[in-house]
């Protein structure tokens, strides 16, 4: 289903199947992995955090629902939510089409080095 099924090298991964990318402006962009979308099946609903919400690493901040089941999405780092992908909310199937191109929300991190606690592509792949 996805055009980029392999975990990408420029991303970090949580064992709970989120990917995170540190962008040039210092913010962190978050989505779910291809493995997660594959396991969920057709995604039909996304509930994303409000902009301005302050979140802690490991906190449940969003919900993704497929035809099959609901699943929590956890913040991989602590910080403030500064953007959410409303286009993905309107077209949840885009998560299935390309999980790495479909970001869900962005966090301005308190401490960007928290990213180092996440897994790299090889380590994440090994957990699957």
């Amino acid at each position: 289903m996805s055009s980029s099924a392999k975990p990408a090298d420029n991303l970090k991964y949580a064992a709970s199947h989120e990917w995170a990318r540190l962008d040039a402006d210092g913010s962190i962009t978050i989505g779910i992995t291809d493995h997660a979308q594959e396991a969920l099946g057709d995604v039909v609903f996304l509930e994303l955090p409000e902009i301005g919400r302050v979140v802690k690493a490991g906190e449940s901040v969003a919900v993704i629902e497929s035809v099959k089941a609901a699943s929590d999405i956890y913040a991989p780092v602590s910080g403030e939510v500064i953007a959410r992908n409303d286009a993905a909310v309107d077209a949840p199937e885009s998560v299935n089409a390309d999980a790495y191109a479909t970001w869900l929300f962005k966090i301005k991190p308190v401490d960007a080095s928290e990213l180092n606690k996440l897994l790299d592509a090889a380590a994440y792949h090994a957990t699957l």
Binding site: V67, A70, E93, N96
Partner: protein
Amino acid sequence: MQAPQRTPLYDAHLAAGARMVDFSGWDMPVNYGSQIEEHHVVRRDAGMFDVSHMCALDLAGADATRYLRHLLANDVTKLKTPGKALYSCMLDDTAGVIDDLIVYFFSPERYRIVVNAGTAEKDIAWMRARLTGFDATLLVRRDVAMIAVQGPQARERFWTAFPVARAQSVLLDNFQGTEWTVDGETWLIARTGYTGEDGFEVTLPADDAPAVWKALLDAGVKPCGLGARDTLRLEAGMNLYGQDMDERVSPYEAGLKWTVDLKDTGRDFIGKSALTGAHARPCDVRFAGLLLLERGVMRSHMKVHTALGIGETTSGSFSPTLNQSIALARIPAGVENGSEVEIEIRDKKLKARVVKPSFVRHGASQLSL
């Protein structure tokens, strides 16, 4: 743990890229890619399901009719035309639903019964124990496979694959089957299904199943998994045993009063005394459909807050046809269709409307509210 059983089409599923799951002890395809696409293909064209995990039973004997009139809540004597089928609940003494099943009538001495996979062993034991005193035998047909071809183009595509079957099956009414003999083997071709669409359910020798599946594929019928089967039956408002009903509820609490036949007051079926008369079990709930009016997805076992008390969803999902969430639920008996209720989804209460539990039939929305 016992290894899951495989149907004769197991290899065909793997070859088609199926994602397999354990369903009632059977290794079955949940989808072959996108469940929603499979759902739509059944509403718009033709899809097929391997339903060989369901269990076919042959009942034969001079007392076959008398036995079924005792065993089942629906009355098989309303079946007059050979091949006609009847949907019924099989109840225990307290009117709890042991299973729901389809029974095909061939003659007063011969019937075919199809029961659910997960309940088959329990059903067979129950049925055998009640054969005492009846001249009838029950034969378990694990030598057959079942393929459901469903959708507006299902029959045409089936006939494209099996042109010689057309003459015998073209005149079948809804809920009627016919035994078709091919190469000395008997198939049952029945105009039944579990999707709310037209189509056939075909029972055939297990050995022939892979070739038949292939022929249907070549005729343009798309393989569909249990995922799509579940959203299709939910849209059609059809109950799933073990989810919408089980031994703890009576057919009256599962929206199945229409299947309980009390016309012949002289007929004494198992569970009847718990449904009628002075010692009938109380029934203060009813079965209803729910349409979520906000974004989100209802699932089973969610609380339903109504003006008259709390109910519970029994099945819920996203309806690909209506593009919103639908559910089946047991709610307080006085809550009328059209009422607004609230569904507890995680930490929120979302608005839903109570509707008749039939959302989509023959490709079209049934919602008039």
